[in-house]
Amino acid sequence: MARTLINLPKTAKPGDVIAIKTLISHPMETGFRPGADGRILPRNIVTEFVCRFEDAEIFRAELFPASAANPYLTFTWVATRSGRFSFTWRGDAGFEQTESAAITVA
């Protein structure tokens, strides 16, 4: 399991625009870089990130080798009701990880 950092407010007022910041520790090996033995290391990147709120997709990103290691993404969402966000990263070599975070809107 890769380490993730997810930052969003625990509580919000209805109508607030909240910032969601996410980071996952991942080497994002580009597939263009030679290793210690001089051979090109195989590509190993996170290719897709999806954020859902209560099963509805709210944000999606397609990532390429030009993303820095430990891909970091921030985006916004309007808080309308309490619920749970889920964050899924998918990538090369069957990489998949899902995390979640809850928000209380009142």
Partner: protein, 161 residues
């Protein structure tokens, strides 16, 4: 490189020619050596056409924030925001970011929903060379808007550790 240049400016005095050649040599020397020979899998134009189809892309409405001078190309903060009310009728559908000189032209593509409130995203990218970055936003009415920013990179990403 210096032959056509010398030919073009024949007739100008010798000092100007020498100064020009020296400038070219200096520019080549300052460039990260490895990045110059990177194989390109696709041109930036064709990647942009794959994103936007045949629609016209107009400059404006997009703001791209990138440091103008980058010390380390391995991690460069990048922020894109688009002027949009983000309502169901008028919102940003996608934002694509493209580079000129990395091995692949795509940097990141994000898909937004009207409920996002603001069309504002940030990430960190790699830059293999001094180059221009372009962000293109697709609106819900099918129009495309763009912004570009230049970054000078002193330590290239991708090839070196």
């Amino acid at each position: 490189m210096s032959t056509p240049r010398t030919a073009r400016i024949r007739g100008i005095d010798r000092r100007r020619v020498l100064a020009g050649t020296a400038g070219t040599v200096l520019a080549v020397a300052l460039r990260p050596a490895a990045a110059a020979s990177l194989p390109r899998t696709e041109t930036t134009d064709s990647a942009i056409r794959r994103f936007a189809g045949d629609s016209p892309i107009r400059p404006g409405r997009v703001r791209l924030d990138l440091p103008p001078l980058v010390e380390n190309g391995n991690t460069v903060p990048l922020a894109v925001s688009v002027e949009s009310p983000m309502t169901p009728e008028d919102h940003v559908r996608r934002i694509g970011v493209f580079n000129e000189k990395n091995p692949q032209p795509n940097v990141v593509t994000v898909h937004l929903r009207p409920g996002a409130g603001r069309a504002q995203v940030a990430t960190r990218i790699r830059l293999a060379d001094t180059q221009r970055i372009t962000a293109i936003a697709e609106m819900s009415d099918g129009t495309y808007w763009s912004a570009s920013a230049d970054a000078i990179v002193t330590l290239a990403a991708c090839l070196e550790g």
